[in-house]
C-alpha cells in the first residue's frame, strides 16, 4: 500500500477562495438548468420527435457508460463532474423524453389548458402531468435517505436530528474514502431535480390549489420558501473552499432557487428565453459562452490533493 501526497496549492490562488468558489458554482448551476431546457428543445426539433424518443435510450445508456468511468476513477473532482453530467443526460432522456413519449404519443394525453377562456395551452405538458403523479414514488424513495445512517446530505441529517432518528439509526460507519462521489453526485442531481420539479408541479396543479386565491397564496409561499432556503444554502456555499464539494452543494442551491424563477416566469415577470432559442439566439449564445468559460475555469482551478485522489492509498 502506498500513499501519494502532493502539496496543497489551493492556498496559492488569489482567485479561488471564498466566496468566489461558491458564487461561480452557483451561477454555473443556474446556467446549466436554464440551458438544459434549451438543449431539450433543440434536440427535439433537430432530431424530430420520434427520432428523439429512439435516441433518448442510447444517450441515456451512453451516460451510464460515462458514469461507470467516473465510478472507476479515484479523482473526486472528475467523479463529481461525471456524476453531474451523466445525471443531467439521464434525467433529460430516460425521464423527460420517455415521459414525453408516453404522454404525447403512446397514451394520447390531451394538453392541460389555461387562460380565462380555457383555450390556451398550459405549460404543464402531458409529460409534466405524469411527472407530477410521481410524488408518491419520490416520497417513498426519499425514505431511504431519511433512514440512511450514512447519508451526508444536510437536509436528511437535519431531518434525522429533528425527528430524533440518529440514536436509532446508529453511528455512520463510512468515511469520506468509502464514498464514491460519481454515483453520489449522480443520485443527488436526479433526486434534487425530481424533488424541485414535483414541488413546482404540485404548486401549479389546479386540481390541488385551484386557480384563484389559493393558487396565488401557495405560489407566493413557494417563492418565499425557495428564496429563504436557497439564500440560506447560498450563504453556506460561499464559504466553501473545495471546488468539488462546492459543485455538489450548488446542485440543490441552484435548483431550489430555480423554483422561484419558474413561478416568476409563470406570472410573466420574466420571459422564458430558455425554451425559445430561435428568438433569443444572441442571449442564449452569450449564456452558453459564459457557461463554457465557467466550466473551463473550474476545471483548471487549483484543487486540494484530496479532490484529485492523490492522498488516497492504493
Amino acid at each position: 500500500m502506498t500513499a501519494v501526497t502532493t502539496t496543497d496549492n489551493t492556498g496559492k490562488s488569489k482567485l479561488w477562495k471564498p466566496p468566489i468558489v461558491g458564487v461561480v458554482t452557483f451561477v454555473l448551476m443556474f446556467f446549466v438548468i436554464g440551458l438544459g431546457h434549451t438543449f431539450m428543445v433543440l434536440v427535439e426539433h433537430t432530431l424530430g420527435r420520434e427520432n428523439t424518443y429512439m435516441a433518448s435510450f442510447f444517450i441515456g445508456a451512453g451516460a451510464i457508460v460515462l458514469l461507470w468511468q467516473g465510478i472507476k476513477s479515484r479523482n473526486e473532482n472528475l467523479q463529481t463532474w461525471i456524476g453531474f453530467l451523466a445525471a443531467l443526460l439521464v434525467w433529460m432522456t430516460w425521464i423527460e423524453f420517455f415521459f414525453m413519449f408516453y404522454g404525447r404519443s403512446n397514451w394520447g394525453m390531451l394538453p392541460r389548458m389555461d387562460g380565462a377562456d380555457g383555450l390556451q395551452v398550459s405549460g404543464t405538458y402531458p409529460e409534466y402531468m405524469i411527472l407530477g403523479a410521481t410524488v408518491g414514488l419520490l416520497l417513498m424513495q426519499l425514505c431511504f435517505y431519511t433512514f440512511d445512517k450514512d447519508t451526508r446530505c444536510n437536509m436528511f441529517l437535519w431531518f434525522q436530528r429533528r425527528l430524533g432518528l440518529q440514536k436509532g439509526l446508529g453511528i455512520s460507519t463510512k468515511t469520506s474514502r468509502d464514498r464514491n462521489y460519481a454515483i453520489i453526485t449522480f443520485m443527488e442531481t436526479i433526486y434534487v431535480t425530481w424533488f424541485c420539479y414535483v414541488w413546482n408541479l404540485l404548486c401549479f396543479d389546479p386540481r390541488l390549489v385551484g386557480n384563484g386565491d389559493l393558487f396565488f397564496a401557495v405560489n407566493m409561499a413557494t417563492v418565499f420558501v425557495s428564496f429563504v432556503w436557497s439564500g440560506y444554502c447560498f450563504a453556506r456555499l460561499i464559504k466553501f473552499k473545495r471546488i468539488s464539494t462546492a459543485l455538489r452543494y450548488a446542485i440543490p442551491v441552484g435548483n431550489i432557487f430555480w423554483v422561484s424563477f419558474e413561478v416568476s416566469t409563470k406570472w410573466k415577470l420574466f420571459t422564458d428565453i430558455w425554451v425559445d432559442p430561435w428568438s433569443y439566439k444572441l442571449e442564449l449564445s452569450i449564456v452558453l459562452g459564459a457557461l463554457m468559460l465557467l466550466v473551463f475555469l473550474l476545471v483548471i482551478a487549483p484543487k486540494k490533493p484530496s479532490e484529485l485522489g492523490k492522498t488516497r492509498t492504493g
Partner: protein
C-alpha cells in the same frame, strides 16, 4: 289582484329559468386536459393543442366527428367505413385524423366543426 300576482310570479320564474344568458359555460374538472367541446373551438387552438398532445387531440376531434356522423346518418363509424370500402375508399385512424389535421393547418381561422363537416363530405359521398 291575486291572480295577477300569481301570473306575474310564474312568468318571472319562467323567464329566469329559460334565460340562456344566465347559463354557465361548461367547464372540465380542474386539472383535466383538453377542452369541454373540441368541436366548438377554432382550428388555431386545435393546432396549438396538436403541438403538445398530438395523438389525444386528433383522437378527441375524431370522436366528436363520430358522434356528429351518427346523429346525421344513424350509422356508426364502422358502418360508414364499411360503406366507404365498398365504394373503393380506404380509411383508417391515421387517414381520418390526417384529414382533420390538414384541414385545420390550412385554415386556422375555421372552426374544428368545419373540419369534421369537410371529412363527412368525403366520407359520406358514396
Amino acid at each position: 289582484m291575486k291572480i295577477f300576482i300569481k301570473t306575474f310570479a310564474i312568468a318571472a320564474s319562467l323567464l329566469l329559468v329559460g334565460n340562456p344568458a344566465s347559463a354557465e359555460k361548461l367547464k372540465l374538472p380542474l386539472g383535466m386536459g383538453g377542452v369541454p367541446d373540441i368541436g366548438a373551438i377554432s382550428c388555431e387552438v386545435f393546432n396549438n393543442m396538436m403541438v403538445v398532445g398530438p395523438l389525444g387531440t386528433k383522437r378527441s376531434l375524431l370522436t366528436w366527428g363520430e358522434g356528429y356522423f351518427y346523429a346525421k346518418t344513424g350509422k356508426t363509424i364502422d358502418e360508414i367505413l364499411e360503406a366507404a370500402q365498398a365504394a373503393d375508399q380506404s380509411w383508417d385512424f391515421d387517414r381520418l385524423t390526417a384529414h382533420l389535421v390538414n384541414f385545420c393547418a390550412a385554415d386556422p381561422d375555421a372552426q374544428t366543426s368545419a373540419a369534421v363537416v369537410d371529412l363527412g363530405e368525403h366520407l359520406l359521398q358514396q
